[in-house]
């Protein structure tokens, strides 16, 4: 008897909550239905507006049916990037003679103070019999970025304009992205960075954005070349491009098929076609945004040897000089 009672109560409860759920769902559906009917017929105002449809025909519609689009004033999102752009770079190995102006400029403008520059010029020679050449390397801003795939917290992200950037306020310092990157492009802030800023720190922190990496660098997080979107916003070229005395770096927009090294502005497709441009480690499938032009008819390799420093890529401030404390 008792058992049976319990059983019926259970059934009742069971049905009860099902009924409750059904009524909630039904209510929600009804509410939507109402909206649907409302949208069906806006009251006609009598006024008409002339519009152009997608085929280019002029059509007349009732003014009440025209709705303001929000698209015009869409807020800029750092994680989405600049709409309609696809930033690329071309590095002409034939013109590089390891002047390192690019590296110095990059170090300066990104306040790189560690032991590992973000932009490096490698001394390359595949085998004994092949010719040596200088190869600047920066972040490839891959379209299939290995680093972004493995990041557990979305701290490093890929934008619609092709850039791969880092949110240093989110990075947990697991260094998986560094392990994943085949181009060894990422550097880590192993200790508190010894950066010096001309403006005061509050301002630096206010301006802090993934679009200007290194300002400031954050201990325990990853840094790398950011393709200088803070320059692109101003309509200026990345620091390495403008610093290079030989015009090695071309920066531009693939959608516009245009790149420039500051002096010459050329068609990207033509530049790549004429010079047999290629990308680094194409076989890995990372689809980099940086193209290389082979070092054919290049400037004398030996001239770069004077600048070559196997064990240093960031100049240390002179020890004897008095250095103001970064506060």
């Amino acid at each position: 008897m008792e058992e049976q009672q319990k059983d019926t109560r259970r059934k009742f409860l069971n049905n009860g909550w099902k009924l409750g759920l059904a009524s909630i769902l039904g209510g929600a559906a009804l509410a939507h239905l109402k909206e649907g009917f409302a949208a069906e017929g806006p009251e006609s105002t009598g006024e008409t507006v002339e519009l152009m449809d997608t085929d280019g025909n002029i059509i007349e519609v009732d003014a009440a049916q025209v709705e303001e689009m929000a698209a015009a004033g869409q807020a800029y999102e750092v994680r989405r990037g600049m709409p309609g752009r696809k930033f690329v770079m071309v590095v002409d190995l034939a013109k590089c003679q390891n002047a390192l102006a690019c590296q110095r400029s990059c170090n300066k403008h990104h306040f790189v103070t560690g032991d590992n520059a973000w932009l490096k010029v490698y001394k390359m020679q595949e085998t004994e019999d092949t010719a040596p050449y200088w190869m600047p390397s920066l972040c490839m801003h891959c379209d299939q970025p290995a680093c972004v795939t493995v990041c557990p917290v979305d701290a490093t992200f890929k934008r619609e304009d092709g850039l791969v950037l880092i949110d240093n306020d989110r990075c947990v310092g697991c260094r998986f992205c560094m392990a994943a990157c085949p181009y060894s492009t990422r550097v880590f802030n192993w200790s508190e960075p010894k950066q010096e800023f001309e403006m005061d720190m509050d301002m630096v922190h206010q301006m802090h954005s993934p679009e200007h990496a290194g300002m400031p660098s954050v201990m325990g997080t990853v840094d790398k070349c950011d393709f200088c979107p803070h320059q692109a916003v101003k309509g200026e070229l990345p620091h390495c491009v403008t610093a290079c005395p030989n015009g090695v770096f071309y920066f531009g927009d693939k959608n516009e098929d245009t790149v420039t090294n500051g002096n010459d502005t050329v068609r990207l497709s033509k530049l790549l076609e004429d010079n047999a441009g290629y990308r680094l480690f194409e076989d890995l499938g990372t689809e980099p945004s940086v193209y290389y032009l082979p070092p054919k008819d290049r400037l004398p390799f030996e001239e770069g040897l004077d600048n070559y420093n196997e064990f240093q890529s960031v100049e240390k401030p002179d020890q004897t000089e008095e250095t103001p404390e970064a506060s």
């Binding site: 290995a146 795939t149 917290v153 979305d154 697991c174 260094r175 060894s184 880590f188 064990f311 240093q312």
Partner: protein, 438 residues
Amino acid sequence: MSRYEQLIKDVGPQKFSLKGKLWMAFLLLLIIAGIIAYADQLIKGQEVTNMRDYVLWGVYISNFVFFVATSFVAAIVVAVLRLTKSEWRRPFVRIAEIVALACIVMAGITIIIDMARPDRMLNLFIHARLQSPITWDVIIIPTFITVSLLLLYFPLLPDLAILRDYYEKIKPRLSKTYGFFALKWRWTERQVKIQKISVRLLVLMVIPLGLILESIDAYLFSTTYRVGWNSTNFGPYFISGAMVSGLGALITVAYIVRKNKQLETYMTDYHFDKMGKLFQLACLIYLYFNINEYVIPLFTSSQAESEHLETLLRGDFAIPFWIVTGIGLVLPAILLVFKTFRKPRSMYLIAIIVVICAWWKRYLIVTPTLLHPYLPIQGVPESWRHYFPSLHEWIITSATLAMALLIITLIIRYVPVMSIDQLAADQALGESQEKAAA
């Protein structure tokens, strides 16, 4: 003294001897040193390690891999042997559960030590991205900790109740503590049924979870483009390696427990002999995957791969590589064929060497690969081209190992190392059954 009481005395909790106290003091000392070193690392940053931009993962990660591997022992000894109805597993089961729990807990802690920004740990949940193997780890490790804990706890309930009753008059306070954890266990039919089902479910779960855990551990490496890591062999390679280090750790701990508690009549030569055969099988399987990993690629390796293999087989890492492979794997696989080497004492010596080699093996999986990136190492200080853990890293790593041993020691101190309930039932000493009837 009845045989039942004798049984509780034998396998049940025993106070630390002087040796035990010294051992605890030693472990605590290591742990305190480790905590100080870790605090220093938190303040100064990971600059205190010898990791740098090229060798970006070091001994913390290899230590983590070792812990994860060793915790796999729960899946083999507890679950697989149970499902195959291998009765000889019994004296080892509880110890295997304890080792697994200690190791997986320490794996979780070790991976946090490697994180440069542990203060942002919540980001791993708030901003979790499912395609990152680290997120898989964030999911599987707490899961495995929970399952390991329950797998130790549920079968323990009757034993805790036995201790509760046993200490009722002698030590009422201790009895209360055991009573609290025994969850009012009275051997009622319903309790026994629920417990049996729960344990069975956990046992069924721990096998896939163990396989997933080891595979994810391998995928941390094989999802990168690194030469020496991006190997399709890595999943089974890690699973088989986990069997070796897990069983090695189990045999080592079991032998020490047996010696200190004089359990020779419970853990007999027969049991060790059987375990030795399983251990040998594990070594052979691991050897097979090692051949797949290091010998077969010699035939078709690309230039970068050849260079990597060269450093292991003949270059900078050749000496540790051959010690780890030769003494830590090939030799045990051969020796364990012979019955004399499956005797408890000699097998203990083999197992302890295998475990030490298994630890170094992980080091050799992590470090050499990082020293061979695709682009040459240039423009960084000379010291970045090598890696050997710094003093901080050694102290912290020792502390994590000490903490694992401390967890094992403490659990063994307070909990029966074998199921008293089971043993009593086997020997039909049935005091517990009497109680159930009452």
